[in-house]
Subunit: 290 residues, 2 copies
């Protein structure tokens, strides 16, 4: 994977509006695997310097997504331990470290989904916002027990429509609504379930814009609000609040109008006080009202 292929891949990840933070973080690690195999270097030292520089750029490319930062940070720690070995061995060790983190991250997401599925049990109507691979894993576990979904479209690019299509195809009776109908349809749901792009040490979450509104509606309607994600999405205590990524206002699709600026902030912050419980690979952490 040469410099220009890497730059193209980085740009694709930066512009990705369809995958959640978990999948994007694992995609970054896959780039590290490919880079470890193919980057041009004559010694382990030179190889690791080049790879660390790529990891650093990847770690910074999606500031709202803590797992991207955390997993690449973890990879760099392991790369630091490789030391003076033949370059071929360094390639193998660096790729293996990245592959192992991909597996840990994917397994953690599956385990988080498993814990929440057990907590919920069958026969529930679940309301969700945005597109989370962990939430899809949750529905996969609940299908045999019976489950229905209410899914918001998630403007501006409507990745909620993709989620609705996935769930419908899995056999989950799914209702697709505009984001504005969240408050209305919260009255029909048993619980709200969302993934997260990032969790603070205290448990506030950065997630697709609108998640905060959904949490407010859940509290007002007396519904539990559950967050389900691998612990790689937690920011360590003291790490700064992530920037809320702002995308091109043109994605709203509004005509150009004098005096009007379209804004497209992709994420909002839901305070920990609005969360009923967090689920990760280690199980449940109870929150509000627990």
């Amino acid at each position: 994977m040469d410099e220009s292929a890497f730059e193209q891949a980085l740009a694709r990840i930066r512009d990705d509006r369809v995958h959640g933070a978990g999948e994007i973080a694992r995609e970054c690690l896959r780039l590290m695997v490919e880079s470890a195999r193919a980057i041009d270097a004559g010694s382990a030292g030179a190889l690791l310097t080049l790879l660390r520089a790529r990891a650093e750029r990847l770690a910074a490319c999606r500031p709202s997504m803590a797992s991207v930062h955390n997993l690449l940070e973890r990879w760099r720690d392991q790369a630091d331990a490789i030391g003076e070995v033949p370059v071929a061995d360094a390639r193998t060790l660096a790729a293996k470290a990245a592959r192992s983190l991909i597996e840990q991250s994917a397994r953690a997401a599956q385990q988080a989904a498993e814990h929440l599925a057990r907590h919920l049990g069958g026969g529930k109507i679940l309301l969700t916002h945005s597109l989370s691979s962990t939430v899809i894993a949750l529905f996969e576990r609940l299908v045999p027990l019976g489950v229905s979904a209410i899914v918001t479209e998630s403007r501006p690019l409507n990745e909620g429509c993709l989620l609705a299509g996935r769930l419908g195809a899995m056999g989950v009776p799914t209702t697709l609504i505009t984001d504005a109908q969240m408050g209305l349809f919260a009255a029909n749901a048993d619980a709200v379930v969302v993934g997260a792009d990032s969790l603070s040490a205290e448990g506030s979450l950065v997630n697709k814009a609108g998640t905060y509104l959904l949490a407010l509606a859940a509290r007002d309607r007396g519904l539990p609000f559950y967050v389900c994600c691998e612990s790689f999405k937690r920011r360590p205590p003291g790490m700064v609040e992530p920037a809320l990524e702002e995308m091109n206002g043109g994605e709203l699709g509004a005509p150009r109008m004098v005096g009007v600026t379209a804004k497209n902030v992709y994420f909002d912050i839901t305070p920990a006080a609005l969360v009923s419980a967090w689920f990760d690979e280690n199980g449940i952490t109870a929150g509000r009202g627990a």
Copy 2:
């Protein structure tokens, strides 16, 4: 205006997604003016029977909009008082009653806007949802004093884009956002202002879906939430909660997907407890936290 022209006009009003309840109610009264002038009838009694039937159909055509019902009810009370007069005089009186109600309604909306404009004063950033002619009248008054707007697009048909265009053209610096960004942008606003399709006797409001979410966000952010509309939008005590009109799910524009049903409920209900104050032609009524 013969039967088929009336039916066409009625269908247009039923499908109107762009005008607020005040404008739609006044449009219904304009149809009564035209009907009074042109409907085929040989006596005052026959004329009034036909007109009452049209008024009844118009009164029922937008169940979420109390002003449509209330103003046509008011017209029918006045029609009942016309009595036995030559048919030409009955036409004049019936048309005059409708015209007078149009004027009263329009004046009341202007006065409500005037009261809220005085309360707000200049230099504010106002966040609004949906398209309300009363809210436009409010901005008209505030332009000379300085005012900025944050406007939601109001899915599915984005009448908020029309509002943003109107405000921008009036010289109001306007930020257009997705409905999902309401919670985020509430942090940048000084107050929330909305019209209403209908108010209960206790002050809960039926308005475009998403208004309830905006009221929750306003409370959570400590922002005042102001409702501004003519008192014709109040339902009398004991009148049943209006049906929340549901439109074609196809308006969401999602592809057809197995197992997925798109829902498009146009209105939600915001409890009175979330309202800081109501403004109508008579002035302010203080609510939450006052």
